[in-house]
Subunit: 154 residues, 2 copies
DNA sequence: CGCTTGCTTCGAGCGCACTCGAAGGTCTTA
DNA sequence: TAAGACCTTCGAGTGCGCTCGAAGCAAGCG
């Protein structure tokens, strides 16, 4: 509830080192309907509403008639969530992270820990994939060989 | 049906270049019950039967009483399937590959193509993950910064 | 004013990859 | 020969991540 406001009151320095987020979108006006966001992110409107319902999005602003108005901050968040999704992190864990964010600054350490463990997962996954790649290449090369030596099928 | 026999009649040269498959298991006796295979692979007996049902396994030999007797070749296949699974390939696609294998030598080209396209997927996925890793590291470093500069919360 | 478009909520449905349970046959060991 | 483990098949159930449909409100246009 207040989270959105708080977020808005801090243009770009939620953290304050080498921060380069909140790239304003072309029109730069920080107000997007759900279908605009759907187009932009590739997620369906249904999915966006679902994300909010399950707590994977901070509560999105509403227009005076109750329609969602997404901000650039929301888009940034969605982009980040998209990255987490790529890591294969379960939605439930992303929700946990989102809850930490909503809980405020005192959860920095917990969030960092969560991201670090995710990082480890990603690194492992990459190693796994690279290993798989080796197997794949080996297999592919055997097919290539079979091509070159088509004799002795019997 | 005949597939199993054919497979067995070719000790280790299905393809014939630098072939180093079929590492005999400790007891080396080429006959495993479903629960042994389950232990070995980490898959459940249910899943193994399911793999066979959907055509992801060549039909497994049976004992005179109808119980499954897995061969080393089957274990090799399962290991390979495990790798494919790691790539995120849908089971349906693996079944397609399995069908190609069962169809015989004239599908070498198709199989090679399938593996090569999988290879591309894996490479892309790795790139994606590496990209994600960058984002993650950036985010983690901002948390680290926030720790070092705890002032200016207001 | 009525119509279309697009939003709202809620709850049900879907596809995937298993996962499990039931009912029954078989193998081994006492 | 009887108990208990372990196998068989078949079909139903589960959990996840969406995905969709229905019913209804609101804005904007001719």
């Amino acid at each position: 509830m207040t989270v959105a406001q708080v977020a808005k009151s801090k243009p770009s320095n939620t953290v304050n080192c080498a921060d380069s987020e909140t790239h304003l979108r072309p029109d730069g006006q920080d107000q997007y309907t759900i279908s605009e966001v759907a187009d932009f992110t590739g997620l369906s409107a249904h999915t966006l509403r679902w994300y909010e319902r399950i707590g994977l999005m901070p509560h999105v602003d509403r227009s005076h008639t109750g329609q969602r108005r997404f901000s650039n901050k929301d888009l940034d968040w969605l982009a980040f969530v998209g990255k987490l999704r790529l890591t294969g992190m379960p939605v439930a864990d992303m929700v946990t992270y989102a809850e930490l964010v909503r809980a405020g600054d005192q959860t920095f350490a917990a969030r960092q820990a969560l991201l670090e463990s995710t990082r480890v997962d990603v690194v492992n996954r990459i190693a796994e994939l690279q290993d798989t790649l080796t197997v794949l290449d080996h297999k592919i090369s055997t097919y290539a060989c079979a091509h070159r030596a088509p004799e002795r099928t019997a």
